[in-house]
């Protein structure tokens, strides 16, 4: 107790009474003695516990290493999937080349998780927008690699170039968020699993990538 509080307590009757009341309450609470448990309280307990443990549905979960391996595998698979989408978009021989964003999913016949379609469509449109912004950039590579906020005065990028840089940065951030969301969703999804992702890669990018993954 601080000296100031102690001094106040010594002269304030209301606070003294308050302190006494709280102390009484805590003392009564601490002094309450629970009745002893019945003598046979543990009778049959181990057997009942055995039954309950056996009955409890084993939860589907992975140990730490399996979770880490799963995360790594998911990252690799997603990396290949994203690369495949990108390569298809720039490959003139691709059946999806030249089609509007989102159309890559339309060539796949197999029934699939609509959430995954949504993610892939979003990623594809973000990639297309990102590529378009890069190709249209007139600022040299060095300047593009420097944060726009660090450039000022003579030689600084034009306002348009600055805006493009900002857009690129936003697109990268959006892409990162989408990838994380996709990864989280896939890890969470016990129903679809990696078989689904593999099928999507095979459909989008061909069997070669699957061989690499395996």
């Amino acid at each position: 107790m601080s000296p100031a509080l102690a001094e106040h307590l010594s002269s304030c009757r209301a606070c003294q009474a308050e302190q006494r009341a709280v102390r009484d309450l805590l003392e009564v609470s601490a002094a309450i003695v629970d009745p002893a448990p019945p003598a046979d309280v543990w009778e049959g307990f181990p057997e009942a516990l055995d039954r309950e443990i056996a009955r409890a549905r084993p939860t589907a979960r992975l140990d730490r290493w399996s979770r880490a391996a799963l995360g790594l595998a998911a990252t690799l698979v997603l990396g290949f999937a994203l690369g495949a989408v990108w390569m298809r978009a720039i490959d003139p021989a691709s059946p999806t080349a030249g089609l509007p964003p989102g159309s890559a999913a339309t060539v796949i016949q197999e029934p699939r998780d609509p959430r995954m379609d949504l993610y892939l469509d979003e990623i594809e449109s973000v990639l297309v927008a990102y590529r378009a912004s890069e190709q249209g950039d007139a600022v040299d590579v060095f300047r593009r690699s420097v944060p726009a906020t660090m450039l000022a005065g003579e030689g600084a990028p034009s306002e348009a170039a600055r805006q493009r840089l900002e857009q690129q940065r936003a697109a990268r951030e959006q892409l990162r968020t989408l990838v994380l969301a996709m990864l989280a969703s896939e890890i969470e999804s016990e129903r679809t699993g990696f078989g689904y992702i593999e099928r999507r890669i095979a459909e989008i990018a061909g069997q070669e990538l699957l061989i690499l993954v395996h």
């Binding site: 009341a21 309450l25 609470s29 309950e52």
Partner: protein
């Protein structure tokens, strides 16, 4: 268990020291005999904790069974960042509070939809204190504790009935020490309010009657 447990009266202390690490490790690896030993080691202390939440030994034993099933299911995931007993206490408190909620729902005192709204409201469950043989004051205090909101009740029971330190209570509830202090303060304030209300024949709140508990 270290800390300030030893402050309390002997009949409350129990055997809160943690079980030998090798038994714990064997139980974590799935050794059933080690797990049974672990159950025997902690069951009396945990029965006391669950009893203090649910109010009768029959239900406390059922809750304890749920506690040990949970422990068995998750034991391999426990990591020694905090004392093992604090993990057990946390499960025991959560299961006891969950049991209370299920009971309230079963008897129509609370619906799942109302649960979120009411989670911080005083419990309206009937008190199981009628069968015990405490003095009138003790009975009133226990009844008042039973009416506290969940977190305040958990904090008060662990801090002032189990007589854990602030640090130990925080470990057992999985919250910050500041939260324990705040909940303890609010619990005491609310308890005094409830007790004053009980003492008032009309059930009305009087002005601060500092002679009351």
């Amino acid at each position: 268990m270290g800390g300030e447990i030893g402050k309390g009266p002997p009949w409350k202390r129990g055997s809160l020291a943690d079980i030998a690490p090798d038994i714990l490790k064997r139980a974590q690896r799935g050794d059933r005999r080690a797990f049974d030993e672990l159950v025997r080691f902690y069951r009396d202390d945990l029965l006391r904790v669950t009893y203090r939440f649910v109010g009768n030994y029959e239900d406390a034993r059922d809750v304890l069974q749920l506690v040990f099933v949970k422990v068995h299911q998750n034991l391999d995931r426990w990591e020694p960042r905090a004392p093992f007993w604090s993990w057990l206490y946390r499960i025991a408190v959560n299961e006891s509070l969950g049991w209370k909620k299920r009971e309230q729902r079963r008897y129509g005192l609370i619906t799942p939809a109302e649960e979120l709204v009411q989670s911080d409201a005083p419990s309206s469950a009937p008190s199981p204190l009628e069968d015990a043989s405490w003095s009138e004051t003790e009975r009133r205090v226990l009844d008042a504790i039973d009416q506290l909101p969940e977190m305040q009740r958990a904090t008060f029971v662990l801090r002032y009935r189990e007589e854990l330190s602030v640090k130990e209570t925080a470990a057992a509830l999985g919250c910050a020490e500041g939260t324990v202090k705040a909940n303890g303060y609010h619990a005491i304030r609310r308890l005094r309010k409830i007790l004053r209300k009980m003492e008032s024949p009309a059930g009305e709140l009087e002005n601060d009657d500092t002679s009351a508990l």
